[in-house]
Amino acid sequence: MTSIQQRLATGRGKFTPDYPELGTGPVNYEDSISPGFFEAERKAVFERSWLCIGRMERLPRKGSYFTRELPGRLASLVITRDLDDNVYAFHNVCAHRGNKVVWQEHPQEESAGTCRAFSCKYHGWRYGLNGVVNHITNEEEFFDLDKSKLRMPPVHCEVWAGFIFVNLAGGASEATGESSVPVPLRTFLGEGLLGMEAYPFDQMTQHYGFSTQIKGNWKLAVDSVCEWYHPPYVHGRFIDPDVSKAEKMVPPVDSYHYDLFRPHMLTSVPGPPLLPPRAPGTAGEARQDQRWVYKLFRAGLFGPDDVPDIGPLPSFLNRGNIASWGNDQFWVFPNISIQLWARNYYITYTYWPETVDTHIYEIDLYFVPPANAHERLAQEVVVDSTIEFAMQDVNTIEATHSALKTRAQTTFHLSDQELLIRQFHTVIRDTVAAFESGEQKS
């Protein structure tokens, strides 16, 4: 072992045997390439799970709203904050003839703003911030309208720790009069995640957002970032161009922490130590060396070296008590990872399936607003490093997806440090199976 590996090793042994229900056998990825599974997964998972669609900072004042076009035509939503600070979500569809009510210039593009009411661009029907109709033009020309029941169709919406979640359950069955009420958001999140509320997300308003389409199933993308086996190979050039050296620079397998609390999960990741403080003007002579760039700007992939003060950190962080803690990555079922970094910023990864073969991948980074230029520049280094690494991950997903689709090989193997992949696919498949058996009963 190298000195880095000796310093971080715990001798803990394997994690997977702690979860005997998952087994240790080979797996297959039919769930990531089968069109039939994709259709079932959409109904069982995405049309009835709590889904995070943005932060409260997008609703900065009374009357603020934004729209979301959830990929794969999952839903077209309006999210609002009314004059009493209630947050609502509803489908962006007019009760008159089905026009999209809230949009600007291009109907397919998302929009945002502040208003007191929404006016349909087609015939002028108006809706309040709660989505209920409050004015019908030429109302007397209609027949037997019950205005109290006319509205843009509501969507379950709850806010937790400043994250806005929606749940699409119930919408489709309204025609039959059956309503499907999801478990409350807090119950769904459970003890494994609720402690995150103590984290000062509200201090981190400096936001960078990225989005890309990936030609691969969304679950394969999740798989690619919840194990720590790939870095010396996918990201080797950042660590050491010589792979045999890069392998010795990464933390040992037992220095990470894994915690599964169905349906959610956590991995804690060690990170490099902070660079020592230095006086201005001591970065040394310019070199074509990325370590010099990190030293100059005092930042790297694991964050800035001058860490902003955000008060005492909540005790639920680094619950596995790993050495040289770098971040906690909380996987909130089904499609978002909330990563709290030791250097006081956070990142979310969100995955939105479009088809069995494609998805939209969103990366959002949030920092404490910089107090000066060097803090701002350090954040730029963190953002750019994160995206350079992410772009390396992306193409691997496309390569995996295209190879799996050949079905030339259908049995695959997961090592101990790929425990989260084993869990994630199991939970998705179990959720789909439970939904399908419920459908057969009814």
Partner: protein
């Protein structure tokens, strides 16, 4: 004599302004991908020896209210960061094996 586009004391960097003092990350990334690799190396080698002095200069100003000349200097440093991965890590404009992968920027700070 043309008017200075950068703060006093940074005249060595004036020739970089037109190509690299770009206001959005999308423009900066496009410049990294579109310009010959030798241009990236030349840009990096020109700005890197002045970067620490530029940071110290900018730290003397209100980062939320930078005058236009200082803002251009800031944008040059953002470009230096984005180009540094190409010059120092990949030795080419694109990330190797990244194919057509590209992230659209959907939200970024005003400055």
């Amino acid at each position: 004599m043309t008017e200075h586009q950068l703060p006093e004391g940074f005249c060595e960097l004036e020739p970089l302004v037109d190509d690299w003092a770009l206001a959005t990350r999308a423009e900066r990334y496009a410049a990294r991908l579109d310009r010959p690799f030798d241009d990236l190396v030349e840009f990096y080698d020109t700005i890197a020896p002045h970067a620490e002095r530029a940071i110290a200069y900018l730290d003397g100003l209100d980062v939320d209210d930078l005058p236009p000349e200082a803002l251009r200097l800031m944008h040059l440093l953002y470009s230096m960061i984005l180009v540094s991965y190409a010059v120092n890590v990949f030795k080419q404009n694109r990330i190797p094996d990244a194919g057509a992968a590209f992230f659209e920027m959907v939200a970024e700070p005003a400055v």
